[in-house]
């Protein structure tokens, strides 16, 4: 019982790291532009597919494919931004619908390009076990990308709070007009946050490709997961994303271990709804979501 629970928590923490990678980009764009990018999961998946193509056609490791994925995903992320910036009114809801449509387009483009077959890396190195103290089991991919996730969370947090660009991003998010008066160009910072979201999506995509299997409909599920975590975290809280992601990961793993695997998603969604209704500012955030 104890061993089972311990492994569940360990697996949950590692899965949480991966979930955080998936959610960070969405949370960032949400924090800076008040836009929920419903095509974010598709960006993550796109990075994974680019890595797949690189592995098959160029025979390079998924890690080496990161720059290539980054270029492709960033281009698409900027394209999403350009389209979003053409929305004139009711931005909050219209952007939701626009990115929803873009998600459908991307999903089907991936279906056309890479077919419906299930893909995953053929490099077995990532799948070898990394055992901690003879009792805690994980794969190398999980451990690596858990660490990557920690580094990126710290980096992103540092960037947002310490660097000029990061502070500009935050200034725009809290008061666009005031930021303009201070000499910050909101468009530049918004593009910047989309580019950073693209970078985060790329790492999430590589984690996905080396650790799990991919097929075109997966993107939508990733977006939902990312959104759930963003809500748990609370508006604009970057460390909150990591904690929220781990909470979801651990809840799911414990549900599998002690209740039933079929109820795994149910546990996550109930948690999400409970937080949304009882503590709308999120577990680790401020601000409000009530109307």
């Amino acid at each position: 019982m104890f061993e089972l629970g311990l492994q569940a928590i360990y697996s949950g923490v590692l899965t949480g790291g991966y979930y955080a990678l998936v959610a960070l980009g969405l949370a960032l764009v949400f924090g800076t532009m008040r836009v929920i990018n419903l095509a974010h999961g598709e960006l993550v998946l796109l990075a994974a597919y680019v890595a797949y193509s690189a592995e098959v056609h160029l025979a390079i490791s998924p890690i080496a494919a990161i720059p290539l994925s980054l270029v492709v995903v960033s281009l698409v992320a900027v394209l999403v931004y350009v389209l979003l910036s053409h929305i004139t009114r009711d931005r909050e809801l219209n952007s939701l619908i626009l990115t929803y449509g873009l998600g459908i387009v991307l999903t089907n483009l991936m279906l056309l390009i890479w077919s419906a077959d299930i893909r995953s890396t053929t490099a077995t190195w990532f799948q070898e076990g990394a055992v901690l103290g003879d009792t805690l089991y994980s794969s190398r991919s999980e451990v690596i990308f858990f660490l990557v996730s920690l580094v990126l969370v710290a980096g992103l947090w540092f960037w947002l709070t310490r660097s000029w660009h990061g502070r500009a991003v935050r200034a725009v998010s809290s008061n666009r007009d005031a930021a303009m008066l201070m000499g910050v160009n909101p468009r530049t910072t918004e593009v910047l946050s989309f580019l950073v979201a693209g970078l985060l999506a790329t790492f999430a995509g590589i984690a996905l490709y080396t650790g799990k299997t991919i097929d075109p409909p997966l993107g939508h599920a990733l977006t939902i997961k990312a959104f759930i975590i963003t809500v748990l975290a609370g508006m604009g809280s970057i460390p909150g994303v990591l904690l929220g992601a781990m909470l979801i990961g651990i809840t799911e793993a414990l549900t599998i271990s002690f209740v039933s695997t079929s109820l795994q998603d149910l546990a996550g969604m109930v948690l999400f709804l409970a937080v949304l209704l009882l503590r709308p500012q999120g577990l680790f955030g401020f601000g409000t979501r009530r109307g």
């Binding site: 809801l93 939701l96 929803y100 387009v105």
Partner: protein, 319 residues
């Protein structure tokens, strides 16, 4: 007003008379139109909540599925007559909508996604509650629509009349509410909620009413579909399709008008099935996504106002 009445009558004659006369003999065209009307019914319900309630929902599949299951199970297990069960299906969806009411306090996007999670929970419950729903195996051979006065409603053409009536009734209800004080108050609430409440408008209660009504209509449509297709399983009953297509249809047609979702659903579904599908056998939904995006960017009010603008018709407030 005169012109409006004439057009409405023309519409009804066209749909009750001309469409069946033209396509009645080709089963698959009628059955595609029935499928399109199923989407239209849900789209009208979605738009009612979106336009009047000011709430964008990403979870109408929940109401669709609950309506379908309630009605199917009542006919199969309790021997209810089909039409009574369909009404009960609508009522069941309404009751299910009560559970999501706390989310009405949430702002737009949060409400949208809370409902999405809520729909996901229903799918899982339907899979897990095997004792009642038969789980993933689903329900086969659900009773079809009955024969009334010698006319078999279980045929494609019979189903066509039933769903057409359901959709038109929903549109009539929508139009009626829109022109009532409740409709005025709801419309006003979008931009000026405080100013509306100050006048005594119980905004949350009105929104809740719209949610219940929207769920009711969606539940009825879902129940109809269960008896028309005669089959249900959790993935199908709570499929994201019942959320996506109505949204695309309502946005495409224009969810701020009563006829927009209807036009949008027929246009989108039939174009998709008969034109896009032959152009692009795999991944033709890409065109749907692109249409949705384009519409939001070019004409957020949809196709109907766009066509209306072409005729030089001026838009009046709340008409």
């Amino acid at each position: 007003m005169q012109q409006r009445t004439i057009i409405t009558i023309g519409f009804v004659v066209l749909f009750y008379g001309a469409v069946p006369a033209a396509f009645g003999s080709t089963d698959y065209v009628i059955s595609s139109i029935v499928a399109a009307l199923t989407i239209a019914g849900t789209a009208v319900a979605w738009a009612l909540l979106g336009n009047l309630g000011g709430m964008v929902s990403f979870g109408h599949a929940a109401f669709f599925g609950v309506g379908a299951y309630v009605s199917a199970l009542l006919t199969m297990n309790a021997g209810w007559p089909v039409f009574a069960a369909i009404i009960a299906g609508g009522a069941g969806a309404s009751i299910a909508s009560v559970a999501i009411m706390p989310a009405l306090r949430l702002r737009g996007p949060y409400f949208a996604l809370a409902v999405l999670a809520y729909a996901g929970i229903f799918r899982i419950l339907a899979t897990e509650m095997e004792g009642i729903t038969r789980g993933a195996a689903g329900l086969l051979s659900i009773p079809r629509l009955p024969t009334i006065l010698g006319f078999d409603l279980g045929t494609n053409i019979g189903s066509y009349y039933v769903i057409l009536t359901i959709v038109l009734a929903a549109m009539a209800a929508y139009a009626w509410i829109r022109r009532s004080e409740i409709g005025f108050a709801l419309l006003a609430m979008h931009e000026t909620e405080d100013a509306t409440r100050i006048l005594g408008v119980p905004s949350t209660r009105l929104k809740a009413m719209m949610l219940v009504l929207s769920a009711f209509i969606t539940g009825i449509v879902g129940a109809f579909n269960a008896h028309h297709i005669s089959f249900l399983d959790p993935d199908y009953a709570f499929s994201g399709v019942w959320t996506v297509l109505p949204i695309v249809a309502a946005i495409f047609g224009g969810f701020r008008t009563v006829s927009g979702p209807f036009i949008g659903a027929l246009a989108i579904y039939l174009l998709d099935q008969f034109v896009f599908k032959s152009l692009l056998p795999t991944g033709h939904q890409i065109i749907l996504g692109a249409a949705l995006g384009t519409m939001i960017l070019l004409s957020p009010d949809g196709l109907v106002p766009l066509l209306g603008r072409g005729l030089g018709k001026k838009r009046h407030a709340a008409t």
